[in-house]
Amino acid sequence: MEMPAQLYKLEKALVRMERKIDLILGSVGKRHRAKGVGEVKGAGALDIMTLLSLPDHLRKTALTLTKLGKAMAEDVAKETGRARAIESAYLNQLVRMEYVWRERVGKRVYFSVGENTGGEGL
């Protein structure tokens, strides 16, 4: 049948698009940080009081990342039951808010809380 092959192609295209979006978000974030613009900035610590002050959708992502320590958007998505692309967007928002670190290792993007592992973020 034609359909599975087309779906496979479509999936690959979507993965490529997600990676490009991640790259764009990363470079936009860098520019915004350089200009000092963007969302409300955190003071670095994602403690429980800060977590409680986050909007519901971000709190769920941030709590899951706190539990996992260091993870990819895919790992967070498995825990929250939401789509990988959604978690990727929320994690990048938390990076821009300076609560979360982001680090690229080859093709993979890792997010972490608490420690600077040499990536973008705080």
Binding site: A45, L46, D47, G114
Partner: protein, 268 residues
């Protein structure tokens, strides 16, 4: 509705015992529930997370303790360093591991003055400890005896818990505060909770019908299951901290009620 039906209790569960005000009986209830479940053959871990007013040391003794839960939360030791097994001493069928909070004034001051980064680390360490206890040590239950109200330690404990047992009294401000915690804090953290009313004046519990009606009223007010209404037992209050009612006076109505609560929480 039983708790098992209403909340789908897992055989491996972290239970935080929390209240709005102090003096509601959290520590007594935590200790007795832990002892009852362990006597039934379950492996239980009891942790004192009331870092500002520790009290489990009075029940289990702190002589010779080198490490405390405070040390683990601040990354100064490993999980194995903070627990000691009291099951032999208390003649229990299952394990009962206990981790104490350091009662020294200097450490309590340190806990009060800890900053946001330290509290973030404490939360991560607590979540790590949960995994270690349930997955590596195969504990059936972890009971977190928390500090009252909204402090870092208590909210961290609620965050780490699978279910929260809210202990509240007849006192109006305690009741209203507990309602606020349930409707705001627990819902923000997406936590399941159950309520235990403690120290209810005996004259309000004159018959089973009166007790059931009152239970329904509290359940409606909290929009949560109410596991029991315990009367105010002067003899429980006058016991020394070292006494674990369920073990030392198993036939006392307080002990019997807690056995029922433990069974409803999942110890059958």
């Amino acid at each position: 509705m039983t708790i098992r039906e209403g909340n789908g209790m897992n055989p491996r569960t972290v239970l935080a015992v929390h209240s709005y005000k102090g003096g509601t009986g959290k520590t007594t209830i935590s200790t007795n529930l832990a002892a009852i479940l362990s006597r039934k053959g379950k492996n239980v871990c009891l942790i004192d997370l009331d870092l500002r007013a520790p009290s489990l040391d009075k029940t289990f003794g702190a002589k010779g303790r080198k490490f405390w839960i405070n040390d683990f939360l601040h990354d100064r030791c490993e999980p194995g360093d903070i627990f000691f097994d009291v099951s032999k001493r208390k003649k229990l069928k299952g394990k009962l591991l206990v981790a104490l909070a350091n009662p020294s004034m200097e450490v309590i001051r340190e806990s009060v003055a800890s900053d946001r980064k330290q509290e973030m680390m404490a939360l991560r360490r607590l979540l790590m400890l949960k995994d270690h206890l349930l997955k590596k040590l195969a504990m059936n239950y972890v009971i977190l005896d928390t500090s009252p109200g909204l402090s870092y330690a208590s909210i961290n404990a609620v965050t780490a818990a699978d279910i929260v047992l809210v202990v509240t009294t007849w006192d109006a401000s305690d009741f209203a505060g507990a309602q606020g915690m349930v409707s705001e804090l627990y819902s923000m953290l997406d936590k399941r909770a159950i309520v235990l009313m403690n120290k209810i004046p005996k004259q309000l519990l004159i018959s089973e019908v009166a007790k059931m009606e009152l239970t329904d009223q509290f359940a409606t007010a909290f929009k949560l299951p109410v596991v029991d209404l315990l009367p105010c037992y002067c003899e429980v209050l006058s016991q020394e901290r070292a006494t674990i009612m369920a073990l030392d006076r198993p036939k006392h109505p307080f002990s019997r009620s807690l056995v029922e609560i433990a069974m409803r929480i999942g110890g059958r």
